[in-house]
Amino acid sequence: MKFQVNRDVFSEAVSFAVKLLPQRTTLPILSGVLIETIDTGLKLSSFDYEVSAQTEIAADIEEPGKILVSGRLLADIASRLPNAPVQFSTVEGRITVNCGSATFTLLSMPVEEYPTLPQISEQTGLLPADAFATAVSQVAVAASRDDVTPVITGVQLEVSNNSLTLVATDRYRVAVREIEWDSGDVANTETLTALVPARTLQEIGKTFGHSGTISVAITSTDDRELIAFRADRKTVTSLLIKGNFPPVKRLFPETVDNYAVINTAELIEAVRRVSLVLEREAALRFTFTIDGVTLEAIGSEQAQASETIDAHLNGSDTVVSLKPAFLLDGLGAVHSEFVRISFTKTENPNKPGPVLITSQSSKDQPGADNYKYLLQPNLLLR
């Protein structure tokens, strides 16, 4: 095998291919990147049986072939190569990489043992890439990172007609956002769902954020369900998480009368400042009155803190106790100058009603997006 390729194109393709590889893998061969020659140039692939990535780039092929090299090592090398065309050639299982004044010799891993990647040709619908990337970053923060409950380590995608809803939860908060979905000529009569690992979806969001339109396929082969995202000659597939996502959307209140509007940046700053004195896992106390909102960090013997900032309260005075990390995730996700915090009622005296965080473009104007972040407060201990 022998080819020459543009340095930047090659480096970008390798870094895309290795990005989704797990840090540690049980099978060394799965840590490799497969490089094969095709009619139009090169195809680079990676696969760990859960997630696969493939991309095609242009290259001058002198001699067709197929090699498998350590992904991380190749990515490190590619990113440090001098600015010159990159030449690959193989002699008896040894790969020589020449670039300007630099030469590397690498060992090929056994190509014949590498698994076959899932090949998906169908298309279920199209997504606007920027909206999708934003929605993923807003929703995935609420996904659980605890493998004890695999179903909630994923982001639930729900397709119906012209919209895609993304939902994630870790039992303590739920984040939901709806974006446009173009299912083409096919009218979806039933709601289609796919539960995608949150970590994978976040990488997909970052990778395709500037790709214009993403083509999505949700399919099942050999009773394995998977989802594929395609744009810019790049394809990512992921196995879906099995199991039923909890019906969390019904936790959202229909209407809320009692709410406060606050400047988002001011609130984030104040939360970060006041929670400096908190012990790990402890909650901040928020007192909303007509005069603003007072944040109090209590409960630690060493130090206490408090701060009052402006808040426009609509309704009665309210006190809630919130975990700062959970609140900050929601505030960071609203992407708007102001934020609306709504207080829901509850019939259970042992559990405060959840608070709802939504965007607000000005003091009086709710945000245009439909992002919703529901957070369960702690019990008030005082």
Partner: protein, 417 residues
Amino acid sequence: MSKQDGSTRQVSSASVDSSTATILHVDLDAFFASVELLDRPEIAHLPVVVAGRSARSVVTAANYPARKYGVRSAIPLSQALRLCPKAIVLEPHFEKYRFYSEKVMAIFDDVTPLVERLGIDEAFLDVAGARGLLGSPAEVGELIRRRVHEETALHCSVGAASTRFVAKLASGRAKPDGMLVIPADQTLAFLHPLPVGALWGVGAATEEALTRRGLRTIGDIAATPVETLKRAVGEASGRKLHDLANGLDPRAVNPRADEKSVGHEVTFEVDTLNSDELRRELLRQANAVAVRLRTAGWVGRTVVLKLRYSDFSTITRSRTLAESTDVGRRIYEEVRSIYEAIGRHAPVRLIGVRMEQLTPGEGQQPGLWDEDEGWREAEDTIDAVSARFGRGALRPASLLRSTAPLGDPRNLPRQEH
């Protein structure tokens, strides 16, 4: 110290004011020997020693009639038989001891959550908080002694005092089958005539070092300057002995002493393959574990099932929950599913349920939803009813038929009064 044969027995009169003696030390009398004699009541008045069959075995336990002959735990059996040739030798059955120990400890747990177990047959209880519900420390002590006897036919002795170490000395003096209350203002009068060997931490070497200096009683030590004691027995021990001799023992009853888990286990008198019976026992234990968690204000995240088969091989299987819990039903569901995942198994000799990864329940971040809300409310109600009418007033229907986990009613402990 006392000769352990009851000859120095000292008990309180009913009129003693126990309000300052809120720490109880409860110790079962001649525990192993008494358990063996439950099956042989006809020889209870004769000298009995519990020991293995081997020629070189040592005495595991001796009843009070045998102790009168000078027979003690840990002396060689051959020596015991020289001291008391008429002694009847019974073989030990450790699983039985554990079974009765659990029963007795469960009675302690009913009285107060502040129970610090010391081995298999004794415990400290802080009963200061029980006054409203159960009465003065002396009344609680009598309640425990009565319940232990009614429910197991065993006898125990109770020492009540304002500190742990005086309570322990008092229970030793009250044996057998007695109670001795040492009100706070009588602590020193009780302590000072006792020999130095009665103090905690005084072994043979320290006792020798003290008596060589003419310090024979605890009163002698109390009257000795602490510096002199430190020179005699070392810096730390000197300070500690001086404190103890003056009735000072700041350590509280600590139910969480080294407690990293909360568990129950039971040995069947007859090995069983009956999965209904095993599930019923899992339910009983899951609820008992949950009650202990709730009383202590803890939640646990890992459920552990322990099974010992008839050949004594033992397996444990655990599962970590999405959220920590103190709900008995949740613990039962998990442990039952762990049990069912094991599939076919050999006859079971012992089964146990344990919760690990314990954290304080207060301040836990509540979830947006709670699958166990209904069960939680039901169990809170049971707690409230139990607080008024006693544990067992309400329990799951499947546990109504048996009060004890023993499969065969013929194996129920005899209850002779």
